[in-house]
C-alpha cells in the first residue's frame, strides 16, 4: 500500500503531446478514478504510472521513492487490463501464480495466496480451467485475482468493466467497491463511464486533452464543477448550459460577470406562467417510470437553445406542448467568459462544501 505523487508529468508521442503537465497527489488507500472523453490521455497517464510508457518530462514518486525511470516490473504495481490479458495457455491457477513465481515466493505461500484470492473471487472451482473456457465475468475476476495475489503497492485498472454486459457491469462494480473496502489498497481506475466514476471513487480526476480539469469527490464535482468542461461532462443527462442573457432573469449583481449559466435538468422546474424564466417547447419525452426526461427547445431565444428537464414520476406532456419553466436560483452554476466557474460562489448554501 502506498501513496503516489506526480509532478509535471508530460508525455509526447513524436510531435503529439498527449499529457501536458499532470500534477497529482494520491494518498495511501485512496480509490481514485480517472475519467474523461476518449483520447483525453487517461489511459496514457495510467500507463505512465505503470511504467509501460516512460514520461517525457516530470517525475513520479511511489511511496516517496522516485520511480520515473524504473522499469514496470520493478515498480511493484499490479494492473488489470481492459482486454484482461490473461495468458491463454495457462490455467487460472497458473495465471494467478505467475507473478508470484517471478517474485520468488515459496511454493506453499503461492498456494495459500492463490487459494485465498480464489475464495474471495469465487473462482475455487475454476482453478484448473484455461481462460478460454471461462465466461466474461469469470475472466474479469481472474484478471482481478491476478492483481490481488501480488499484494501490490497500487492497483491499476484500465477500463476493466467495459467488456461486460450491463447487468454484470453493475454487479462487478459493487464487488470492486466491496473489494476495496476489504483489502483497502490504493487503487487507480480509468473509465469513461461516469456512473462507475461516481459510484466507486473517493476522488475523481477529470481529464481533458491531456490536462487535469478538476480533482474532487464525486459530489464535489457534481455540485461545484470548476469549469464548463466538468459541468458538461459530469451528470447524465448533461447540465444545461445557457447564455446568461437567454434566461429572463434580472441582470443584477447576482449574475455578475457570468456569461454562461449552468443548470442541471432536475433543477429546471415547470411553474406558473408569471414566475417563468423561460418558455420551452417539448421535442421528445423519455418516460423511465420513476422519472421523466423532457428534451425541449427554449422559445423566444436566438439560436436553437436546447433545454433538458428531469421531472420526478411520470408526465402527461407530449411532443409540441409548451411549458413555462423556472430555473432554481440556488442551483445555478455561473461561468465567466474563460469558462471558469465564478468564484467565490454567489450561492451561500454551497460555499462551505
Amino acid at each position: 500500500m502506498a501513496g503516489l505523487e506526480l509532478r509535471g508529468v508530460r508525455k509526447d508521442f513524436g510531435s503529439v503531446a498527449v499529457l501536458k503537465g499532470i500534477d497529482l497527489s494520491i494518498a495511501d488507500g485512496e480509490f481514485i478514478v480517472f475519467v474523461g472523453p476518449s483520447g483525453c490521455g487517461k489511459s496514457t497517464l495510467l500507463r505512465v504510472i505503470a511504467g509501460l510508457e516512460t514520461a517525457t518530462a516530470g517525475d513520479i514518486h511511489i511511496d516517496g521513492a522516485e520511480v520515473t525511470r524504473t522499469a514496470a516490473s520493478d515498480r511493484g504495481l499490479a494492473m488489470v487490463f481492459q482486454s484482461y490479458a490473461l495468458y491463454p495457455h495457462m490455467s487460472v491457477h497458473q495465471n494467478m501464480s505467475f507473478a508470484l513465481e517471478n517474485m520468488g515466493v515459496p511454493k506453499a505461500e503461492i498456494a495459500r495466496r492463490v487459494e485465498r484470492a480464489a475464495r474471495m473471487l469465487r473462482l475455487t472451482d475454476y482453478l484448473h480451467r484455461k481462460p478460454g473456457a471461462l465466461s466474461g465475468g469469470q475472466r474479469q475476476r481472474v484478471a482481478i485475482g491476478r492483481a490481488i495475489v501480488r499484494d501490490p503497492k497500487i492497483f491499476l485498472f484500465d477500463e476493466p468493466l467495459s467488456n461486460l454486459d450491463a447487468e454484470l457491469r453493475v454487479a462487478t462494480r459493487k464487488e470492486l467497491a466491496a473489494l476495496h473496502a476489504e483489502i483497502g489498497g490504493t487503487m487507480i481506475y480509468v473509465t469513461h463511464d461516469q456512473v462507475e466514476a461516481m459510484t466507486l471513487a473517493d476522488r475523481i480526476v477529470v481529464l481533458n486533452a491531456g490536462r487535469i480539469e478538476q480533482i474532487g469527490t464525486p459530489l464535489d464535482l457534481y455540485n461545484r464543477p470548476a469549469n464548463l468542461f466538468v459541468a458538461g461532462f459530469i451528470g447524465s443527462p448533461r447540465m444545461n448550459l445557457l447564455p446568461a442573457d437567454a434566461a429572463r432573469m434580472p441582470r443584477d449583481n447576482f449574475l455578475g460577470d457570468a456569461v454562461t449559466v449552468g443548470i442541471r435538468p432536475e433543477h429546471v422546474q415547470p411553474c406558473a406562467e408569471a414566475d417563468a424564466d423561460l418558455t420551452v417547447q417539448v421535442d421528445l419525452v423519455e418516460q423511465l417510470g420513476g422519472e421523466t426526461f423532457l428534451y425541449t427547445t427554449a422559445l423566444g431565444c436566438p439560436g436553437d437553445l436546447k433545454v433538458t428537464i428531469r421531472i420526478d414520476g411520470q408526465s402527461a406532456l407530449a411532443r409540441g406542448d409548451r411549458l413555462p419553466v423556472r430555473l432554481r436560483r440556488e442551483h445555478l452554476h455561473l461561468f465567466d467568459s474563460a469558462g471558469l466557474a465564478c468564484r467565490p460562489d454567489p450561492i451561500p448554501a454551497r460555499s462551505h462544501a
Binding site: 514496470a72 516490473s73 482486454s83 490479458a85 490473461l86 505467475f98 507473478a99 517471478n102 481462460p131 491476478r146
Partner: protein, 351 residues
C-alpha cells in the same frame, strides 16, 4: 470409422442426388490425388521390384516376378510358362533352355519328357513378389545406419538451433522498439533474394577457416539462421496481443521469462511450421553437404544415396528402396506437427 470415411467420401452438395458440380469436384480431386500421390505410390511399388523387373518393358505398376519351380533332375529352379499346345490345350510347363525361336520345356509332373515349343506360344506365369532384399541388403552391405544417424543429428540439432535463434531474433524484431529496427528487418528479408549457389564459395571459405570441414557442424551452422524463419515467426509474434506482454511485465517477469513462458508457447503454431520446413530443408539438403562433407563417414543420406548412381551403372533397386526410407521421417514429422499449423491458440483468453 469406415462408415464415417465412406460418408465423407460420398458427401454431396445439398445432401442428396449427384449434381454435376459434385461429379466435377470429385473428378478434380481425383486428378489431384493421382498427380500428387501417383509418383509416390509408383516409387514405393517400384522399390520392391527386382533389377530385371525394373528394366522390363512395358513396365508394370505392381512388383511382379516370374514363378519358378524345382523340377527333378535339374539343379536350378526353372521358370514357369503357360503354353498353348498345337492341339489347342493349355498347359503349365517349365523352361529348361531356349534355343533360337524354340524353347525346350518340361512338365514338372513328368520330369523325364522334354517338349519343344515355339517361343511365341508361351507366356510367363507371374505373381506378386516383393523384393525385400532391396531394403535389407543396403542395411548390411551399405552402411545405412551410419548415414541415417548423420542425417538425424544434422536435422535434429540444426532444427533446434534454428528454432531457438530465429525465435529470439523474431522476438526482438516484433516486441521491441529500437533504432534501426526496420533496417534490420529489411536486411533479413533482403537475404531471401540471395541463392545458396552465389554464397557457396564464400561460406565454404569461412567454414574451412573455422576448421569445420568434414564435421557435421559444417552443415548445421551455416544455415541455422534463416530469413524465412525469422520473417515467419516475426509476423506470427506480431499477432500476439501487446497486452499479454505488458501484463507479464507488470507481473515482474524478466524479458527472458516473457520470451520463454509467454511468447514461445503462444507461437507454437508458427514454430511447428518452421520446424517442418527446417526438417525438410535439412533432411533433403544435397548441394551444401556435398560441398563440405568429403569423408564417407560423415556423409548424410542424400549424399550417400548418390553413391548408388555410378557413372556407368545405376543400382536403381537400391536407390529406390533407400529413397523410400529417406522419405519416411519427413512424412512422420509432418503427420505429427500438422495439427499445430491449423490451431491458433493465441486468440483465446482475450476479451
Amino acid at each position: 470409422m469406415t462408415g464415417g470415411l465412406l460418408r465423407l467420401l460420398t458427401l454431396r452438395r445439398g445432401g442428396r442426388g449427384w449434381h454435376w458440380t459434385d461429379v466435377a469436384s470429385y473428378a478434380y480431386l481425383a486428378v489431384g490425388v493421382l498427380l500428387m500421390f501417383g509418383p509416390v505410390l509408383w516409387l514405393v511399388l517400384s522399390s520392391f521390384k527386382t533389377p530385371s523387373a525394373l528394366l522390363e518393358f512395358p513396365p508394370s505398376l505392381l512388383p511382379m516376378a516370374q514363378a519358378e519351380v524345382r523340377v527333378e533332375g535339374y539343379p536350378q529352379p526353372l521358370p514357369l510358362f503357360t503354353v498353348t499346345m498345337e492341339d489347342g490345350s493349355v498347359r503349365e510347363l517349365a523352361q529348361v533352355r531356349r534355343i533360337g525361336i524354340a524353347a525346350q520345356m518340361v512338365d514338372p509332373k513328368e520330369p523325364a519328357k522334354t517338349i519343344r515349343v515355339p517361343v511365341d506360344r508361351r507366356t510367363p506365369v507371374r505373381h506378386l513378389a516383393f523384393a525385400v532384399g532391396n531394403y535389407t541388403d543396403p542395411l548390411t552391405q551399405f552402411d545405412f545406419l551410419r548415414y541415417l544417424r548423420n542425417s538425424l543429428v544434422v536435422t535434429v540439432v540444426a532444427t533446434l538451433i534454428t528454432l531457438l535463434i530465429n525465435s529470439m531474433a523474431a522476438y526482438a524484431l516484433s516486441v521491441y522498439e529500437f533504432r534501426g529496427k526496420s533496417v534490420a528487418m529489411l536486411g533479413v528479408i533482403g537475404t531471401l533474394m540471395i541463392p545458396i549457389t552465389i554464397i557457396l564459395a564464400p561460406v565454404y571459405l569461412v567454414v574451412t577457416k573455422l576448421g569445420f570441414v568434414d564435421s557435421l557442424w559444417a552443415v548445421i551452422l551455416p544455415g541455422a539462421a534463416t530469413p524465412t524463419g525469422v520473417f515467419l515467426l516475426r509476423q506470427y509474434m506480431l499477432t500476439i496481443p501487446r497486452d499479454l506482454i505488458e501484463a507479464a511485465r507488470m507481473d515482474k517477469a524478466s524479458e527472458w521469462r516473457i520470451y520463454a513462458r509467454i511468447v514461445m508457447p503462444l507461437s507454437l503454431p508458427a514454430l511447428a511450421v518452421l520446424a517442418i520446413f527446417s526438417v525438410m530443408w535439412r533432411w533433403n539438403d544435397f548441394l551444401w553437404p556435398l560441398a563440405v562433407l568429403t569423408k564417407t563417414e560423415v556423409h548424410t543420406l542424400p549424399i550417400a544415396l548418390n553413391a548408388f548412381q555410378g557413372e556407368l551403372q545405376t543400382q536403381w533397386h537400391y536407390l529406390l528402396a533407400m529413397t523410400v526410407v529417406t522419405l519416411l521421417p519427413v512424412a512422420l514429422v509432418f503427420a505429427f506437427l500438422q495439427r499445430f499449423i491449423t490451431s491458433g491458440i493465441a486468440n483465446t483468453g482475450m476479451k
